[in-house]
């Protein structure tokens, strides 16, 4: 059974998206990569649940979709 939420779960989707792109706006590609890595690590720990994380990784890895 899937545990990853794939329907909308944001309290403010637009605000998050704007903040995400804003955070990267002035960064070099190298620093953007660092920021992304930090964000992934922080959020992954917050989620914690192995099944949720693996389902997310699996979908993320399907680059052609």
């Amino acid at each position: 059974m899937s545990k990853l939420i794939t329907d909308n779960h944001f309290s403010d989707a637009d605000a998050f998206y704007a903040s995400l792109t804003d955070a990267h706006r002035e960064l070099t590609p190298e620093d953007s990569e660092r920021l992304n890595a930090r964000l992934i690590l922080l959020l992954a720990n917050h989620i914690g649940d192995k099944q949720v994380l693996f389902e997310a990784l699996d979908i993320a890895a399907q680059l052609e979709q």
Binding site: E33, R34, A37, I40, L41, L42, N45
Partner: protein
């Protein structure tokens, strides 16, 4: 270079076997007097089985090599009778620091769980570990340890082995039922039989330097990722006995091992790390690369591979010697019972299956540590570095920092030797190793693990059983001892907490202290069946 330790030289002694008219037969011959070969002989002796060890050298490990011995390994050594000198000589540490670039990221304190006879691990040079085993073997009449005896020819057949052994008095013949092979990672016997150990070679080189510090230095494990004094590489520092410190420098694949081993090249590295004013003497140095690999099958005819010859891991996480000794303990009780006709010959196959599982787990753990220490590509390095930066401020990231995980004994929860009784909830699970607990017997302080091992034990709480049930259970086999849990005083309540033995409950404990079965209501029929299963008789039916 070596000043704190001089290798003992053990004398070659001529054996009467060398003057025999024809090949003298021994049930078990072991090749290699390293930690695994000697453990095999000691374990077999504990099960009443004699063996001969052949070693082509005449001393213990030259240089320190393995240094970290885990609690489970020490528990095994305690069952043999040589853990005490190891723990007394070894260094027990629990604090460590992790550095990234020029700063300390965090420090840790591995507070050990109380109520165990032996510490979570010790640091001890391999030569001491081996020397204490040799000392014990010298007192053991069931072990014939022959130094300077080199196996030069092996004819392995389905029903036994013929050996030619070279000594300074010439070549002599031997034969054996089982040949146990612990001749190291580059096993000549393995390649001689056309067998392979397969896996991954890590394209990296490491310099190990053991140094004696003149000044005090804390008993802590320090690990540097990408430090200023050794850019883009990692460095590990920790303490062994005799004030000897192990320093491990990652060098990269392009390093020249012969150049790096020279003292004039090692000194500047250590000075850059410790500062010019720290006085030290170089004790021993070596450059190594490593592999994670194993054989697909540790058994070929009646040749059984053990230790690095069977399965090899990277040094991070201390799983080489520890995993090796744990494999040996899995093998010895089975082989002894097969030779006595008390177990199915097919039980041997469970050594392969249980320890394939063990090796896979050890290789997985040590590969993960290696991949964290040496990121395989740019994005892996980004993740590694950001994990370390976050670890300075946010505790969660410290759980991702991997400079080697503590070696824990693996479980055999899926082993075919297990019997599952789902009615007994709580306590320890079937397929797991028994945990220690402080107990008192007749008012005398003791430890639970000292009561287990070398034969099957039924650990039972007979409160709800019929009066004569204990007597009937005890009559199941000469190889089964029944221990009434009510005779074990439990001063700290840890035995009750860890084992949860309610009235009628019982554990069947294998001679290697693993749990073969649990029973909600112990009875002769279920216990007999579980013991038969643990001795491999069900494997015959399955065929």
């Amino acid at each position: 270079m070596q000043k704190t330790y001089s290798n003992p030289i053990y004398p070659y002694r001529k054996s009467p076997d060398q003057d025999a008219a024809s090949a003298v037969h021994h049930p078990v011959i072991i090749i290699g007097a390293g930690p695994c070969g000697m453990a095999a002989a000691l374990d077999l002796a504990k099960q009443g089985q004699a063996s001969v060890i052949l070693d082509d050298n005449n001393t213990v490990s030259v240089g320190s090599r393995a240094i970290c011995f885990s609690k489970r390994t020490l528990e095994i050594m305690d069952r043999y009778g040589c853990a005490t000198p190891m723990v007394e000589k070894g260094v027990t540490w629990q604090k460590g620091k992790v550095f990234f670039k020029e700063e300390q990221v965090y420090e840790f304190d591995l507070l050990p769980e109380s109520g165990h006879k032996l510490p979570a691990f010790i640091n001890l040079q391999q030569y001491y570990f081996e020397e204490y085993m040799v000392n014990l073997i010298d007192k053991e009449p069931l072990i014939d340890l022959r130094w300077k005896n080199k196996l030069v020819e092996l004819d392995s057949q389905g029903d036994g082995n013929q050996l030619k052994v070279e000594t300074e008095d010439g070549v002599y013949d031997l034969s054996c039922d089982y040949l146990l092979v612990a001749d190291g990672a580059n096993s000549k016997i393995r390649s001689g039989l056309g067998l392979e150990s397969k896996g991954q070679v890590f394209q990296d080189r490491f310099l190990i330097a053991d140094v004696v510090m003149k000044a005090d230095f804390p008993t802590e494990r320090w690990f540097w990722f990408d430090p200023e004094f050794h850019r883009n590489q990692s460095v590990l520092l920790h303490k062994q006995a005799d004030n000897v410190w192990r320093i491990d420098f990652q060098l990269g694949w392009d390093a020249d091992p012969e150049e790096e081993k020279k003292e004039e090249n090692i000194r500047p590295r250590i000075e850059a790390m410790l500062g010019k004013d720290v006085e030290f003497e170089l004790e021993w140095a070596s450059v190594y690369t490593f592999q994670c690999r194993k054989m697909d099958d540790y058994i070929h005819n009646r040749v059984v591979f053990m230790g690095d010859a069977a399965h090899q891991v990277s040094p991070f996480g201390a799983r080489g010697a520890n995993g090796g000794v744990q494999s040996v303990e899995n093998l010895a009780w089975k082989l002894a019972r097969i030779l006595k006709g008390e177990a199915s010959p097919m039980l041997l196959e469970s050594y392969n299956s249980e320890r394939q599982h063990g090796a896979t787990e050890n290789i997985l753990n040590s590969t993960r540590a290696t991949d964290f220490i040496t990121p395989k590509n740019d994005i892996s390095r980004v993740f590694r570095d950001e994990t370390l930066r976050l670890a300075k401020h946010y505790p969660f990231a410290r759980s991702l920092v991997n400079s080697g995980r503590l070696s824990m004994p693996c479980d055999y929860r899926n082993s075919t030797l297990n019997s599952i009784d789902s009615g007994f909830q709580g306590g320890l699970e079937v397929g797991f190793v028994c945990q220690d607990a402080p107990i008192k017997i007749d008012g005398r302080n003791s430890w639970l693990l000292e009561q287990l091992g070398n034969r099957f034990v039924l650990l039972v709480n007979p409160e709800t059983l019929a009066d004569d049930e204990l007597t009937k259970l005890a009559a199941i086999s000469d190889d089964l001892e029944v221990i009434d849990s009510r005779t074990l005083e439990d001063p700290e309540g840890l035995f009750a907490k860890r084992y949860a033995l309610l009235g009628g409950h019982a554990y069947l404990v294998r001679p290697d202290q693993y749990i073969a079965a649990k029973f909600k209501q112990a009875n002769v029929s279920d216990v007999s069946a579980a013991m038969k299963r643990a001795l491999g008789f069900n494997l015959e039916k399955a065929q």
